[in-house]
């Protein structure tokens, strides 16, 4: 148990003396005050962790002193002392900000347990202050919408600054959920094209037969249902930046068309006969190993070299140290504000739990976890108990797992990695989309909220 600096405020000398004697025998430092004014004087000259405060005193009573202490010394823990029959008064004091109360005379066991609790709270507050200080240092280290303070992300920020003005294609790599689109947006925001549009498309989420139309647009009557001319993303990105997310999912045929459009800055809409021009900067992203896709023949070499002039790797969250706490705090503020819930922070235990998790879904997973915690949390702080649904790691295989369990685990992990793009997950798993859909139903898998 830690040593506390404790002030006993009681108008009865016998109470003060006996409490002081008992507390000192446990090694605590004790200051004594016979009334509220003396207590305030002592607080000016000393540094106290805990005040044991009698409610019923002549002059300034315990309630009044409690209010003053809360106003001028908000960090001090306060335990109200009251006689049997005055519990209501103690409960009122709790509502006014007291940490706890004791009915006198105390059972020595109760007193010891309470002092231990307060000592533990003091340690927790010290941890909390450390975390807050560290987070305060890290805040302000963000870059646009990117929240980060880790050295690996600072390196990403430096690269963003370096490439932003160059107006050359950039390939952003990193696991799903690491914030590749935010990096792309930051590049755009820092570039000379920041007055133009930032147009994004997830190439893995659009069926390949529709991707051509999405990228290049189409003329009226180009195909059944093309009732009017539609601009493609390349055209929309004129004078701005075009962000092709999951660029590794584009078919080789489409890569040829895209490569030509990138080189010539002109292209035909689907069903069109007149070339349109568009001046955009290309930013691509992928969670795949592009070099391996090139070797497999799934990505054309010329296309790869065209999009990979400069590459930036976004590290996974598990390698970003302090960023977990920094992001968690940011998301708590964001979500609590969105749903008007007065949640300000996470407890040190909650931070510890978050830091221990390996975050296979990266920042996106953290965001979902915090959103859920904000919804379920009932107090002003999110505690570890609010994060119990974090559960075992997706990759964790328990001893004695059945084949069925392993299958469910692998399907779930693949879907998570693909951000629940069923077509892409099916492709990775080597089964068709329908089979994967049956597996999803069989195992009762659901996309995380």
């Amino acid at each position: 148990m830690g040593i506390l600096n404790i002030m006993v405020v009681d108008d009865e000398e016998a109470m003060r003396e006996s409490l002081a004697a008992w507390l000192e025998s446990s090694g605590h430092q004790v200051g004594l005050a016979e009334n509220g004014l003396k207590a305030l004087d002592l607080l000016e000259s000393g540094d106290y962790d805990l005040v044991l405060l009698d409610i019923k005193m002549p002059g300034m009573d315990g309630h009044e002193l409690l209010r003053r202490l809360r106003e001028h010394h908000p960090g001090i823990m306060i335990v109200m002392i009251t006689a049997y029959g005055s519990i209501e008064s103690a409960v009122t004091a709790m509502k006014e900000g007291a940490n706890d109360y004791l009915l006198k005379p105390f059972d020595p066991k109760q007193l010891m347990l309470l002092i231990e609790k307060m000592a533990s709270q003091k340690d927790m507050m010290a941890d909390y202050r450390l975390v807050r200080t560290r987070l305060s240092e890290l805040e302000g280290a963000g870059f646009g919408d990117l929240i980060a303070g880790s050295e690996s992300m600072r390196s990403v920020f430096r690269q963003i600054e370096e490439v932003a003005q160059a107006d050359i294609p950039v390939l952003i790599t990193g696991e799903t959920g690491t914030g590749k689109e935010l990096v792309a947006r930051a590049i755009h925001a820092q570039s000379m094209r920041n007055c133009g549009p930032f147009v994004a498309i997830n190439c893995g989420a659009v069926p390949q037969q529709l991707l051509e139309s999405e990228l290049f647009g189409h003329e009226r009557g180009a195909f059944t249902g093309a009732i009017r001319t539609r601009l493609g993303r390349l055209e929309m990105a004129d004078h701005g930046s075009l962000f092709l997310d999951e660029v590794g999912e584009i078919s080789t045929q489409m890569q040829v068309n895209l490569l030509r459009a990138l080189e010539e800055k002109r292209f035909l809409r689907v069903g069109g006969s007149r070339e349109v021009e568009s001046d955009f900067r290309l930013i691509c992203a992928t969670h795949r190993n592009m070099q391996a896709l090139v070797e497999d023949g799934r990505v054309r070499t010329d296309f790869f070299y065209r999009i990979n002039v400069i590459s930036i790797h976004v590290p996974p969250l598990r390698e970003r140290g302090d960023d977990i706490a920094l992001l968690a705090r940011h998301f708590v503020k964001q979500f609590s504000s969105e749903i008007s819930k007065p949640i300000q922070e996470l407890t040190p235990n909650a931070y510890r739990l978050l830091v221990r998790h390996s975050w296979p879904g990266n920042v996106r997973e953290l965001l979902n976890v915090i959103e859920r915690a904000v919804v379920v949390s009932r107090g002003p702080l999110i505690d570890a108990a609010d994060l119990t649904f974090l559960g075992p790691e997706p990759g964790a295989v328990k001893s004695g797992a059945t084949l069925m369990e392993l299958e469910a685990l692998h399907v779930r992990r693949t879907l998570d990695e693909c951000d629940w793009n069923v077509s892409r997950a099916a492709e990775i798993l080597g089964i068709n989309r329908g089979t994967l859909t049956r597996h999803i139903k069989k195992h009762g898998l659901q996309r995380p909220c």
Binding site: M1, E12, A14, M15, E17, S18, L19, A21, W22, E24, S25, S26, G27, K104, P105, F106, D107, P108, K109, L111, M112, L113
Partner: protein
């Protein structure tokens, strides 16, 4: 009479206390604290310390009485059959002036087990010896120890007291030796 240094402990029965209890306390103080022990003639029952509404005796005035008119090389341990408390606490097994001159121990609450029945005499005597050594170590300036197996750790009740062996951790032993020699 054996022991280290000139300091002595005077064990004083406060009112009627059985001879065996007095002897056990004296022997254990001498063994574990290492000070010479004298057993004084009984003092009167400390009626001055009675809190009538509680039917208990306030340990603080008893300590003050024990530390009055005391020789420079003497410490005192009062043994009392009545129920001790502090004004702020419902009961105490014993109480001491930390780094002072006196301690007092009560037999009252040591006599019973969890079921309310009287414990066997050897259990009572072992408890009494533990509390007496603990309180006398306080008088020598020791505070509660963080080692859970040390006799100077804080006991949350009789069960915990029974679980402790009658020994001090090496740190507390060293501290006591240092205080006695000082």
């Amino acid at each position: 009479m054996a022991g280290v240094g000139r300091l002595r402990v005077e064990v004083i029965p406060l009112g009627p206390v059985d001879e065996v209890s007095i002897s056990v306390v004296a022997a254990n103080i001498q063994t574990f604290i290492g000070l010479a022990v004298d057993v004084a003639a009984p003092w009167p029952d400390p009626a001055y310390a009675l809190i009538p509404v509680r039917g208990q005796y306030n340990a603080l005035p008893i300590l003050r009485a024990l530390s009055e008119s005391i020789d420079i090389d003497m410490l005192r341990l009062g043994l009392f059959a009545g129920d001790l408390c502090l004004p702020i606490l419902t009961y105490v097994f014993g109480e001491a002036q930390v780094n002072g001159r006196a301690a007092v121990v009560s037999l009252r609450r040591l006599k019973h087990g969890r079921d309310g029945q009287r414990v066997l005499p050897h259990v009572l005597l072992e408890r009494l010896a533990k509390v007496a050594v603990h309180e006398m170590a306080h008088v020598l300036g020791l505070k509660h120890c963080r080692s859970p197996r040390c006799l100077m750790s804080f006991c949350l009740g009789l069960e915990q007291l029974d679980d402790l062996t009658l020994r001090l951790c090496s740190d507390c032993e060293r501290l006591i030796a240092g205080r006695i020699l000082r």
